[in-house]
């Protein structure tokens, strides 16, 4: 790597522009052979990750604790997937953004809806998946007013006979998987101060790991560990503040020198600003049983105006490695120091072992909102590879020696200054929609967004006591054009290169699943559910569901021995919110993102359905 990073970033944008527009001329879904020179890591073994669940099941959000979103099931193949048919469907009664995924354990499927967070257990032993039990929690209606970007919920986790999920109003709840009765319920924060919970808990051993949302309201971000058996809080670690609340102690051994020092979560901010520090934890948490470490990203720093918070603003927009039992931090790395663009670092960090330069390296792979894909040593926090996976121009690269991005001054946002053509936009080259990893192909498959933005330096201002007048940021199609605002990218994380990419009209807001027969499934915001050859990107099958897809498909084996594929259909979320009836003329809607999606309502309307597919 060394300094190659900076050269790459510059030329990368040109390549994306050129190929993207070619693809647009040819029409959608033209697989793009790009930068294919990088050889795939010598994975190919197809071995599952340590601690993988039974092949038939999908008990955690990303199936395994490493969030590979890989299943070894292989009945549905590249040859027969063209025969895939709808097996059954289920309407949740909630027509909002369905960003999560169902779970399947012991012939039961578990579904969590967006607010009001209605939970259903569906009986897979019976035709059509009738309801075994359901649980409608008393989620505070006022919590809807606090959520920035639709009232989503990203699903549950299962372990030890319990289904654990988060309510929008900051409760983590464990239900008895057999009966649906509440086993325990713990309230972790308050909506009155702007905090909500939208993420899916991750269960690692006997610890339930959760975090909060709401950085746009200036709340303090935290992650917490809860005892799975009792529901007691084990620890809570904040993303800003003194080491004592960040849970940085003698075990903390970060790789880069800028993270060494006392109370950096205070000293990298103006006095007291860390108290409104943001750094919420609303993405997917992962866990590596080999090193016994959990990993999660932190959101943007609080207080929008970057000029008001000089400094790196630790530990916002970065990743923590922690001991799941104590919460003590082991290392940290910051993707975007002093974030000026709303580039949250919350996207998942996927533990894999990769062949790199003849060595097996234990790494994390992370596709950041800032447009760089990072391959990081997961024991130490050292950046091994950081290359753009989508168009970006705010930095020319990441220096692996220092771990710092090489920023482009003209793309920094400042108060009173109009900054144009910043890529990616605040919605990021990717948001929470997760990537998948196949141990067979050795490739990562990441959804992506190709939008750019103009930041207008403060025209209207908000004053106390009057209605909020809104954001002055304009988002629009990136180099890929209006017909190419999203891509599904196949990525070689050992070399930091694209292998192929599929271009979509709208941002790809659905995290794929990849199978033991090298078939990949994902959905589009305009409602197409698609199967691709995971090696070539060739489209094999597609089906139009009722409402746009912003959720993540899963696959499982039913009690009848057949392989099924399931996905939510329900447009919404940040970029999908416009299809829920927000006016494109209202600049406050969805943090200014609606301008990037004016045509979405012509393609889809709200819904809230589960679709399950199988071979005849």
């Amino acid at each position: 790597m060394r300094r190659q990073g900076s050269r790459w970033a510059g030329s990368w944008i040109a390549i994306v522009t050129m190929v993207g527009s070619v693809a647009a001329c040819r029409g959608e879904q033209a697989p793009m052979a790009m930068a294919a020179t990088g050889s795939a890591p010598s994975a190919g073994s197809g071995a599952e990750a340590p601690g993988a669940p039974p092949p038939a099941s999908w008990p955690l959000p990303g199936r395994n604790a490493q969030a590979w979103r890989y299943s070894p099931l292989a009945q549905i193949t590249a040859d027969n997937v063209k025969n895939l048919k709808v097996a059954w469907t289920f309407s949740t009664g909630t027509a909002r953004g369905f960003e999560g995924q169902p779970l399947v354990v012991d012939s039961t499927m578990y579904v969590v809806s967006p607010y009001p967070n209605h939970v259903f257990a569906l009986d897979l032993t019976r035709t059509g998946g009738p309801v075994k039990w359901d649980y409608l929690p008393p989620t505070e209606p006022a919590s809807q007013g606090e959520a920035c970007c639709d009232v989503v919920n990203r699903g549950a986790s299962y372990a030890d006979g319990k289904v654990v999920f988060n309510r929008l109003d900051n409760h983590t709840v464990a239900l008895d998987a057999k009966t649906g009765k509440v086993a325990w319920d713990i309230k972790l924060d308050s909506i009155e101060e702007g905090s909500t919970m939208t993420m899916a808990p991750l269960i690692a051993g006997n610890v339930v790991l959760v975090g909060n949302s709401g950085a746009e309201l200036g709340v303090k971000g935290w992650a917490a560990g809860i005892d799975l058996s009792s529901g007691k809080l084990l620890w809570k670690a904040y993303s800003t503040g003194p080491d004592s609340v960040v849970k940085i102690g003698p075990d903390f051994k970060p790789y880069y020198p800028q993270y060494k020092g006392k109370d950096l979560g205070v000293s990298t901010w103006p006095p007291d600003q860390w108290k409104l520090g943001g750094g919420t934890v609303w993405g997917w948490i992962t866990y590596d049983p080999e090193l016994d470490l959990l990993y999660y990203g932190t959101a943007n720093p609080g207080v929008w105006n970057p000029d008001m918070r000089p400094g790196d603003n630790l530990w916002s927009a970065g990743v923590f490695a922690r001991d799941p039992k104590t919460g003590n931090a082991r290392w940290a790395y910051q993707f975007t120091p002093h974030d000026s663009w709303d580039y949250d670092g919350v996207n998942e960090n996927i533990p894999v072992d990769l062949q790199m330069n003849g060595q097996v390296r234990k790494v994390l792979v992370h596709f950041d909102r800032n447009g760089f894909a990072y391959t990081i040593d997961r024991a130490t926090g050292q950046v091994l590879v950081a290359q753009p996976y989508q168009s970006l121009n705010w930095a020319t690269g990441v220096d692996p020696q220092t771990g710092k991005p090489v920023r482009v001054p003209s793309k920094e946002t400042h108060q009173g200054v109009n900054t144009t053509d910043i890529c990616p936009s605040s919605t990021g080259a990717r948001d929470q929609q997760p990537a998948a990893f196949s141990p067979r192909t050795g490739l990562f498959y990441t959804p992506s967004t190709d939008l750019c933005m103009d930041y207008k330096g403060l025209k209207a201002s908000y004053i106390a006591g009057t209605p909020y007048l809104g954001a002055d940021v304009r988002m629009y199609a990136g180099p890929g054009g209006w017909n190419g605002r999203g891509q599904l990218v196949a990525w070689n994380a050992a070399t930091g290169k694209r292998v192929w990419a599929i271009t979509e009209r709208f941002p790809v807001w659905s995290g794929p699943v990849v199978t033991g027969s090298d078939v990949l499934f994902y959905g589009t915001m305009d409602g197409w559910f698609k199967a691709l050859n995971a090696r070539t990107g060739q489209e094999l099958w597609k089906f139009k569901v009722g409402s746009g897809i912003v959720g993540n498909p899963i696959t499982y084996q039913g009690p009848d021995g057949k392989q099924y594929v399931a996905v939510y259909s329900g447009i919404g979320g940040w970029l999908g919110a416009i299809a829920l009836g927000l006016s494109a003329s209202d600049p406050t809607a969805a943090l200014g993102a609606t301008g990037a999606m004016p045509d979405l309502p012509k393609y889809t309307a709200p819904g809230g359905m589960l679709y399950v597919f199988a071979l005849p």
């Binding site: 101060e193 309201l217 004053i463």
Partner: protein
Amino acid sequence: MTAIVVRLAMLAGAAVVSAAATPNGAAALPAPRALRVCADPNNMPFSDSAGHGFENRIASLIARDLHERVQYTWWAQRRGFVRNTLGAQRCDVVIGIIAGDEQLATTKPYYRSTYVFVTRRSSGLRFASMDDPRLHHVRIGIHVIGDDYNSLPPGVALAGRGIVRNVVGYSIYGNYAKASPPSELIAAVAQGKVDVAIAWGPLAGYYAARSRVPLEVSPVGNAMAGHGIPFSYAIAMGVRKGDTTLLGVLQRELDRRRAAIRRILRDYRVPLGDEDGTGAQASIGSDRPRGAVAPHTASGAGGTTP
């Protein structure tokens, strides 16, 4: 106000709460037409669900003239307020909004106020200008907003002068379980947590007057003090674009009731400038000639508000 009331008021799905509930079985007389007002139930001194705010009083004044009752749709004034209330046709008028806001149609401004400095009288500190060099050294409290691509004028003006290390941000949203969350900033001055707050005049004037610790309120001198960001704003009523009939009715009322409205605003210690002023000075405490500014010493004996 109990937390329950507040939470009810923040109800997003079914936010319409009528202040004019009909008695049981009373169906004899046709209900008067309603002036349907979109308002925050926990936003003193502007409005609250008990009707104590000056916007409540102005709404009642106009509704009486029109022989209408006031029907409130309560919604916390955070992001999406206009979209979820006026925009969703749940109500028809916002009593106070920056004049000329493009999201809706606004009347001519009916008052103008300004950002002010708030200090403890005992401190002897007085400020009149953002360029006062002492602002580099004292502890300054301001309202801030989270990640929303936006800032409030004082933060912009201070950061533009390199004044950040001695600035304490208070969330403009605050803790909604407490009464009037943004008023925490004024309390911070009284409690000595900060030496000076730079706050929006109506909020500062009202809470400074009610403070047990005597506070001084003085306007931020030059209206464009912060890097092109105005410090004084004209406030109007807002209706949905195209609702010209209601806009005309409200404009006639505002013209006719100008004196009564000014009296209400003065009762609440709103620092007032000329509503049709072009951004010059705001005067405090009384209808002074345009441009005249005098520091106003808030009475420690409590306000004159109901």
